[in-house]
Amino acid sequence: MSHHIVEVKNLRHVYPDGTAALQDVSFRITHGESVAIIGANGAGKSTLLLHLNGYLAPSGGEIRIGDFLLNRGTLPEIRRTVGMVFQDPDDQLFMPTVYDDVAFGPMNLGLSGAELERCVTSALERVGAGHLVKKAPYHLSGGEKKRVAIATVLSMSPDILVMDEPTNGLDPYARRQLIGLLKDFSHSKIFTSHDLDMVLELCERTIVLKGGEVRADGPTREIFQNDALLAECRLEKPLSMQGCAICGSAVAVSLPLP
């Protein structure tokens, strides 16, 4: 199962305007791991994600997905292996109906007829969106859009799921539903998010980016307990690790005496 491995070595990216977005980023994610990439705005998270399926080409260093070194020739295979779910589902759902959208990837892979039908249905069932199959994307709610967006990627049976801010803009119920769904996936998973409570629930490992460099890489709980590191990277402990602000149990805030 070596094709579930993501290996990034000394990755560097400089935008055409001269901004160095990534400098010497290295990590290795193995089969079945669930990893969060966190950091302040502009730390390089999105740039890094866009490299993972070859949308941006590295200015230096290399990326290996499974047995393939990412380059022009391996791009089609890598794009099938790495399922990318974008932050705004409106960018991802561009076809007239949910069915067409979920079928878009498999059709590009050459599926048709009953096989295509089966693939689309099972992807939609997987995310609990089977009843939406005939709807137009713009008639869906935010949570539904997100789940369908995930189905569009699942239908290509990727080995690695990459998601940019998956819980962004969802109501608490839809967020909870999505977290439950993602927990069930056995793929290797890479998330970027500012929803650190979600990170705590879903990812056993966290990579912290700061100014385009890997500032820390380790078990999520350890990283979230390092207050100095979090403050330095413009981050904060997840709410579930902070004390209760109302009942007062283990509150770290000091109140003025009466």
Binding site: L50, N53, Y55, P76, R79, R80, V82, G83, M84, F86, D88, D90, D91, Q92, F94, M95, P96, T97, D100, A103, F104, G105, M107, N108, L109, S112, L116, K134, A136, P137, Y138, H139, T152, V153, M156
Partner: protein, 270 residues
């Protein structure tokens, strides 16, 4: 922005109507597109003073509303929205064209009034045909039908994207315009200048979104061609539908149907 939001909701209503399952909905979209095309050409090609010959053409929208199980009130409401616009186009005709063409009892009717009425009737006919076509076919299916009828695939793709993102774009435009209004405090704000930069931003945002969509397409193996899973076929029912309507339209175009029915009735009365 209430009007834009309202118009959007109507798009959705048309989409929902297109999900119906009647004889009309099941016909191959190509047959419906072609029949509507023949209808439009027949109606538009009449002379400017023609009025009575146009009336029998209402049978097409009426029949499709019936067969397609469409809400007549809703469709008529849509057409009524367009009529004032047509009226604006024709309103000056009675002023410029005062030659009396026919005498309605003691009332002389000038050519201007007739051509004005003709414009309104034509608008009602063409708009109703277009709305009904979308309501029984659905916009994406129409695009695909046109592609299969020979329209370049790039155009079809453009139209599909337009239809998909017109909702997103209007929402974005609506938000931007609301934000401007809220800070203009009921005055003109900075007038046209603020609108031009608003439009510029909208264009840039559209550009950026287009890039992200392209990215999403590439991520799912897009290589330049849209694959279609169209299985409909042009069978006997489609041929009958197309030939039947086309013959009727061309006949009605060549001969004045109203006059014919009128003379039949008066002949019977004699």
């Amino acid at each position: 922005m209430a009007s834009i939001d309202g118009a959007l909701l109507d798009f959705k209503r048309l989409d929902q109507l297109a999900e119906g399952d009647t004889v009309m909905h099941r016909l191959d979209p190509r047959a419906k597109v072609l029949a509507t095309l023949v209808f439009l050409v027949s109606v538009v090609s009449f002379g400017r003073y023609e009025l009575s010959a146009l009336i029998p053409f209402f049978i097409f929208p009426a029949a499709l509303i019936g067969l397609g199980d469409l809400p007549a009130g809703y469709i008529i409401g849509k057409i009524a929205l367009i009529c004032p616009l047509a009226l604006v186009i024709g309103i000056f005709n009675p002023i410029f064209d005062q030659a009396v063409l026919l005498q309605l009892g003691p009332l002389p009717v000038s050519g201007g009034w007739i051509s004005c009425a003709s414009i309104v009737v034509r608008a009602a006919l063409t708009v109703s045909a277009a709305i009904i076509l979308v309501a029984v076919t659905g916009f994406p299916a129409i695009c695909r039908a046109m592609e299969r009828l020979g329209m370049p695939p790039a155009f079809a793709m453009q139209l599909l994207f337009l239809y998909r993102y017109i909702f997103v774009l209007t929402e974005e435009g609506g938000r931007a315009s609301r934000a401007r209004e809220l800070r203009a405090f009921g005055k003109k704000g900075r007038g046209m200048a603020s609108y031009s930069s608003l439009l510029g931003h909208l264009l840039l945002r559209t550009w950026m979104r287009a890039e992200r969509i392209h990215m999403a397409m590439l991520a799912r193996g897009f290589s330049g061609a849209f694959h279609s899973r169209e299985q409909s076929r042009f069978g006997a029912a489609e041929l009958l539908f197309l030939a039947g309507w086309s013959i009727l339209f061309i006949t009605l175009r060549m001969h004045n149907g109203s006059q014919f029915i009128g003379s039949l009735v008066t002949g019977l009365l004699k």
